[in-house]
């Protein structure tokens, strides 16, 4: 029955995405999340399964392949986890019927302590007694379970997709509460989220932005260009001047690559220095990021930000040919920024201090999916 879990077409789309990820043809957390979601939708649409476990296993298998292809794009794994979470929730709703309505209200601190996480109590009985119209492992009609569940699953994936598509709007809807008139904001690199946030704030406030160029990609130039065309008074500075300008900066707004379970984050290299300089000047550091960047992982690498290195040509090109063969050139992609340096995360799911990120994680993903 479940011997051939995926059809050939779905298989191919997974392969295509995996190789694109490996070759870094798709980069950026939102782009990878979107692509992953589209592939998962295809996989689920074509999948044949007779019970929940089989479906979960299929999706996990796809997730594992994609994550292995590019372990540094954490939003791939996050998207898979999120979809799994939604699948369980939908299945639970379909099988438990009315019981589910009472669930959210039953969450309390005491139960939280007793049960570890709010959803745990529902999990054990999940597949044991199937109620309602859904029947798992029906020997007469093995596809009946899939037929019954697929429409709701598609809906659930559509919800995730909608969330991803509106993530910038939702993050920036409260921008004017965070940026006030005549403030000077410092940001670095090119983050679409931060860009949307700053532009949204510019509708209501008149403020200035200092953009650090962020070597070696010099993405800050693109950011500065985009912000200045939106009518924001923008100053483009080299990374070296962050410290001397920090005394006049009111707020540092950064983008994130990944938000980790301890409240720290991986962000474009340079972020750690800006955040440290900000703390030295007691300037608040605010991070704008979509919820899909929340990752149930801890920083395993510490100082060497995520052990991911970029092309050394950007740092020392072949125009300096006499140096190239004598010198080691280092170009790390990311910095690990400790939670102590960050004041708040602004997400599409509300604003949170780094200390409550773990709780968001518990609500967003299921514990059993932390390892795909």
């Amino acid at each position: 029955m479940g011997s051939e879990p995926r059809s050939a077409a779905a298989h191919r789309s997974v392969d295509v995405l995996a190789s694109k990820l490996r070759r870094r043809q798709i980069v950026g957390s939102r782009a990878t999340a979107l692509e992953t979601l589209l592939v998962l939708r295809q996989v689920i649409a074509k999948a044949r399964f007779a019970n929940l476990e089989q479906l979960v296993e299929i999706i996990r298998g796809v997730g594992r392949r994609l994550v292995d292809a590019q372990p540094k794009e954490h939003s791939v794994g996050n998207t898979v986890r999120k979809v799994l979470h939604h699948i369980r929730e939908e299945h639970h709703a379909a099988t438990q019927g009315t019981n589910v309505a009472a669930k959210p209200t039953s969450f309390s601190i005491s139960k939280f302590v007793l049960q570890g996480q709010p959803r745990k109590h529902a999990a054990p009985q999940k597949s044991s007694e199937s109620k309602g119209t859904l029947r798992e492992n029906d020997p007469d009609d093995p596809d009946s379970f899939a037929r019954g569940l697929k429409p709701v699953l598609m809906e659930a994936i559509q919800d995730v997709l909608d969330e991803l598509e509106t993530v910038y709007d939702n993050i920036s809807k409260n921008a004017k509460d965070h940026i006030h008139s005549d403030e000077i904001i410092l940001t670095l690199g090119m983050s679409k989220t931060v860009e949307a946030f700053l532009k949204s704030a510019a509708h209501a406030r008149n403020y200035s932005v200092i953009v650090a160029e962020t070597a070696p990609s010099y993405d800050g130039r693109e950011m500065a260009k985009s912000l200045s065309t939106a009518g924001i008074s923008t100053f483009l500075v080299p990374d070296s001047s962050i410290f001397s300008l920090m005394s006049r900066v009111n707020k540092v707004i950064l983008g994130a690559h990944v938000i980790l379970a301890n409240g720290g984050m991986f962000a474009v290299s340079g972020s750690l220095m800006a955040a440290t300089a900000a703390r030295e000047h007691s300037t608040p550091v605010v991070v704008c990021a979509g919820q899909f960047k929340l990752t149930p992982l801890w920083n395993l690498y510490h100082e060497y930000g995520a052990l991911d290195f970029g092309n050394p040509t950007d740092v020392l090109g072949f125009e300096n040919g006499d140096l190239v063969d004598k010198v080691d050139v280092v170009n790390p992609y990311y910095d690990y920024v400790q939670p102590e340096l960050i004041v708040a995360y602004i997400t599409n799911d509300g604003d949170h201090p780094p200390s409550s990120i773990y709780r968001l994680l518990k609500e967003t993903y299921d514990d059993e999916d932390n390892e795909l």
Partner: protein, 455 residues
């Protein structure tokens, strides 16, 4: 040329028009050409000097004017600024003066138009083709160009170059009749200094050296033969360069070299001539260590340090990275060795932009930060913020070593390239000077160590 503002007095246009017409008649072809040339030069200078709001429509204005003048039909245009027309009756010097004033006024307007007065004290970087005013010695003019083009860069290099140029100036100087060298030489040297400052703001090292030079000039015996006095001054200058810079550097090399041990990883930022000497000396002494060169815009001077460290017969193992990669590299470093532009008596070190960040991160990682600095860079007074006094690198310099995708300033987009920053004393472990290794808290005692009896 200033963008027309609301306060532009409309009547004055009417006033100037007749005088202009009158002037037109007496203007010869050569004069006209000269005027056009002048305007073109002013235009070019403005173009270089600043990113302007409303810039795109500016270049047409002078052209229109030229056509008008050429055709001889002086029709006053209301939006045209009245000052421009009065040019015709003014002398050449006055015109230059006016153009300079206009440029200054426009600079101020440009800064205010961004609504950020906090950046206004930086001023705008000067255009490189600056004018020569007064009796300036050719060596000084040459030096001015080298300074403004950043061909001579770094506190030591600039100080040595300045003093050497002044030796030439002093030798070529003759005291006019009824004057003494000790009185008149000063008035001859002052415009030279002004010229150098107009090319690039004076470094603290130059300021100290020039103060010393002035002191020596004023101390010249009136009865001395002129040539003897000039020779004596030149010897004094030579001694200053030798004692305060060359020998000082050798002592620093020795003192800092002792701190480098086998197996060390020395991290340095940008390029300091002293640090370079220290590293090369340590290498020559047979120490086995490696160097991490961290670099950043605006000048990317680290590449030149890298070149000199790796070019020798047995090159030092080097790692090169840009400033954002610093946190990843600091875990390996055992010492941070940086140079300085100036020392302030509160222990703060004024140095190349980015040094403060390197020192801060090193402090976070418990890596000792050692600053190499000669005592002649000591500056009385305190400095608490690198923002309050700084110098901007002109765009033409930063764009020279930049990838082609560098973007040009526009109405809302301004580029700021501060050259220096201030490292607070709390990040600094020790300052290596020729009078020994001192903690930053004791920097204020440097004058005492040099034999000054009172603060």
């Amino acid at each position: 040329m200033p963008v027309p503002t609301m306060v532009d007095p409309e009547p004055s246009v009417g006033n100037t028009a007749p005088s202009q017409q009158a002037a037109k008649k007496v203007m010869t072809k050569a004069e006209r050409r000269e005027l056009q040339e002048k305007q073109r030069a002013a235009k070019a200078a403005l173009k270089q000097s600043q990113p302007q709001p409303g810039k795109p429509n500016q270049p047409q204005q002078p052209k229109q004017q030229q056509q008008q003048q050429g055709g001889g039909q002086a029709k006053p245009k209301p939006p045209q600024t009245p000052q421009k027309k009065t040019f015709l009756t003014e002398s050449t010097a006055a015109k230059q003066d006016r153009a300079a004033k206009e440029a200054a006024a426009e600079e101020a307007a440009a800064i205010q138009s961004h609504g950020l007065r906090i950046f206004s004290h930086f001023g705008q970087p000067k255009p490189i083709g600056h004018t020569v005013k007064g009796d300036i010695h050719p060596t000084i003019i040459r030096l001015g160009l080298l300074f403004s083009e950043f061909k001579i860069c770094g506190a030591n290099a600039r100080c040595i170059a300045t003093l050497t140029a002044f030796k030439q100036v002093i030798q070529d100087y003759t005291t006019p009749a009824q004057n003494t060298i000790s009185r008149h030489l000063m008035t001859h040297i002052s415009p030279q200094i002004t010229h150098l400052v107009s090319a690039r703001p004076m470094s603290v090292s130059m300021g100290n050296a020039i103060r010393e030079l002035k002191l020596e000039i004023s101390a010249i015996d009136i009865d001395m033969v002129e040539q003897d006095a000039k020779d004596a001054l030149c010897t004094k200058i030579d001694n200053y360069i030798r004692d305060r810079i060359i020998i000082a550097d050798q002592v620093i090399q020795e003192l800092a070299g002792k701190k480098i041990k086998d197996g060390d990883v020395v991290l340095t930022y940008a390029k300091s001539s002293v640090v370079q000497k220290v590293l090369l000396q340590a290498q020559e002494d047979g120490k086995k260590f490696s160097v991490v060169v961290v670099d950043s815009k605006p000048l990317l001077e680290g590449k030149s340090l890298l070149r000199s460290l790796t070019s020798g017969a047995n090159s030092i193992p080097c790692t090169y990275a840009l400033l954002p990669a610093l946190p990843s590299l600091l875990t390996e470093a055992t010492m941070v060795l940086v140079g300085a532009h100036a020392l302030y008596s509160n222990g703060a070190v004024y140095s190349r932009a980015g040094t403060a960040m390197v020192a801060m991160m090193a402090k976070m990682h418990s890596v000792p930060v050692v600053v190499c600095c000669e005592t002649y860079k000591f500056s009385e007074g305190v400095m608490v913020d690198g923002f309050s006094k700084n110098e901007l690198v002109p765009l033409s310099i930063t764009q020279r070593n930049s990838s082609p995708k560098d973007i040009a300033p526009t109405q809302n987009l301004e580029r700021l390239n501060p050259l220096y920053d201030l490292t607070p004393p709390r990040y600094i472990t020790a300052v290596v000077t020729e009078v020994g290794l001192i903690p930053p808290s004791s920097i204020s005692s440097i004058p005492l160590a040099l034999g000054k009896t009172s603060m």
